[in-house]
């Protein structure tokens, strides 16, 4: 019954394998831009050392030039370096907020959906309540209570934004709850905690991460707004928000560079993070 087929007899019957398309171009661009921005934020202040704090009132309010690519501020500090460290602070705060929101949101969302019944209903009312209040207002209240501390800023953002993650994770767990493999797990004797750990949380990790990445631009804006309002970091500390606040007065005096560069950077960072988030989303959707 065996007859060997010579390899030479074989030929293609249709088109050859196609290379993967350029669908990922947007995501790759987003990642590239983010890497660029991150390196800017990390390395420039490192290399500059203490130069950023140097005040030199003789070089105050200089427009962009070879010596000062982004110009100088009212105290003569080089804005290229100052913006880099400002970005570093803003990004750090935003990432910490996002992580805190993710941790809180995933846990509460998953447990609420897993327990179901009255517990779930109560938690959802709480979530609705938090969402009903304009989160900036809530954030301002929290920060005003604990003036200027970075922990307060992080808390104000995390406590108002975990609900977004919780909602998405809860919806995912609700759909997982009725899957047959979850029923099988219970029939095999798994406790609710084991099912949570082994099936619900891993199942929602992808969605949770995506929701958190989508939070990042918002967190950056939130921090900038708080600092802009004077409720966040002290004006001496550089962050995107404080720099934008300074720019308010600078622009009046003709210093357009004080506004343009921070604003542009805020916009580009937001777009890049959103592009990465979208790329992550389409990858996780594909896997389901």
């Amino acid at each position: 019954m065996s007859s060997t087929v010579e390899a030479a007899d074989l030929r293609l019957t249709g088109p050859a394998v196609r290379r993967r398309g350029l669908r990922a171009a947007g995501t790759i661009l987003g990642v590239a831009v983010l890497v660029l921005i991150a390196s800017y934020a990390v390395f420039v202040p490192m290399l500059a050392g203490t130069d950023e704090k140097l005040t030199d009132f003789s070089s105050a309010r200089l427009p962009p030039s070879a010596a000062h690519p982004f110009g100088t501020d009212h105290a003569g500090r080089d804005l290229f370096i100052r913006l880099a460290s400002g970005l570093r602070v803003s990004l750090l705060i935003a990432v910490l907020c996002a992580l805190a929101s993710m941790g809180l949101g995933m846990l509460i969302g998953a447990v609420s959906a897993a327990l179901g019944g009255r517990t779930d209903r109560i938690v959802m009312r709480v979530v609705d309540g938090i969402n009903a209040v304009p989160h900036l207002l809530l954030g301002v209240v929290i920060v005003a209570m604990f003036r200027g501390s970075v922990t307060a800023i992080i808390a104000s953002i995390a406590l108002t934004h975990w609900t977004q993650v919780a909602r998405i994770v809860r919806a995912e767990v609700l759909s997982l709850r009725s899957r047959e493999y979850v029923e099988a797990a219970y029939l095999l004797g798994s406790t609710r905690r084991e099912v949570l750990r082994r099936h619900f949380l891993p199942g929602t990790l992808a969605q949770g991460v995506v929701a958190t990445v989508m939070l990042l631009p918002h967190a950056i804006w939130h921090e900038s707004t708080l600092s802009f309002l004077g409720l966040g970091l002290s004006p001496d500390q550089a962050s995107l928000g404080t720099l934008l606040k300074e720019a308010q007065s600078e622009v009046m005096l003709g210093g357009w560079w004080a506004l343009v560069f921070p604003a542009l950077l805020l916009l580009v960072t937001t777009l890049a993070v959103a592009a990465c988030g979208k790329g992550l989303l389409s990858r996780t959707e594909g896997r389901q």
């Binding site: 007899d9 293609l12 050859a16």
Partner: protein, 300 residues
Amino acid sequence: MNSIAIRAEGHTVRIPSRTRRGTGWVHAATDVAFSAYRGGVHALVGESGCGKTTFASAVLGMLPPGTMAAGELDYVDASGTRTPLTAGRDGAARAAKLRGRVIGYVPQSPATYLTPVRTVGSQLGETVRELGGARNPQDLLAQVNLEAQALDAFPHELSGGMLQRAAIAFALAGGPDVLLADEPVSGLDPDLAQLTLGLLRRVADAGAAVVLITHDLQRLADSGTADEVSVMYAGRIVESGPASEVLELPSHPYSRDLLAALPANGLQAMPGTSPELTDLPPEYSYAERLAAAAEAGYAR
């Protein structure tokens, strides 16, 4: 004398496979000889994963990109003109022209086959228009024993059996010369299965060549639908002949063991399991499976 419609000679298919564990070639078909005649039902049977569905994909020109083939697989029209379906890069393109119009296909799970947000009638009407079919939707539904009311129904409003019949109506929309049915009765109640197979028989009696792909030997044997049966194992045809012979007095040990597994014949478990088709050694045969099972202590 009925004319041949689908002809395979030395038909061999190798599909590239790229998995976590590395690359390889799936030996989906090796040296397959097969002929389907007009006016008859030729059943292709075997365990799941033996290459039956790939054979259908080859006839329809729907093999994955990068697939290599050898041998001949042709569609032969009434006047005897051959259209090779797997020869060269445009083999798939040639098959694509025949798809739907000359070679109809009834898929395995009809429920997912239809668009859920449109009525059956509108989808069937569109299909007839696109394929330039001669019959209108009402006639097609009548041919498959569905009332005209089904035209106004949405797919979720039809039962499983009705959906299966609707799928056959869709396949007949272009007035095809050949009908490929892939597991058309899998999971259906015995009565519905009988009805569906009867339908396919009538399609063959009307002049088309019907190729019935199934692993359900019991239904096949009970319904007496098939004229010829070919048994496939690990991508090779191990036995082929008139249905009455193959299903009642098979000569190949694989066919015999396959039939012995049927409830009516005692539900006797087969030795071992069917092999992975990836990078299958060329000398592989059923004897090897029997030997491996004997070593593992399998006893009848």
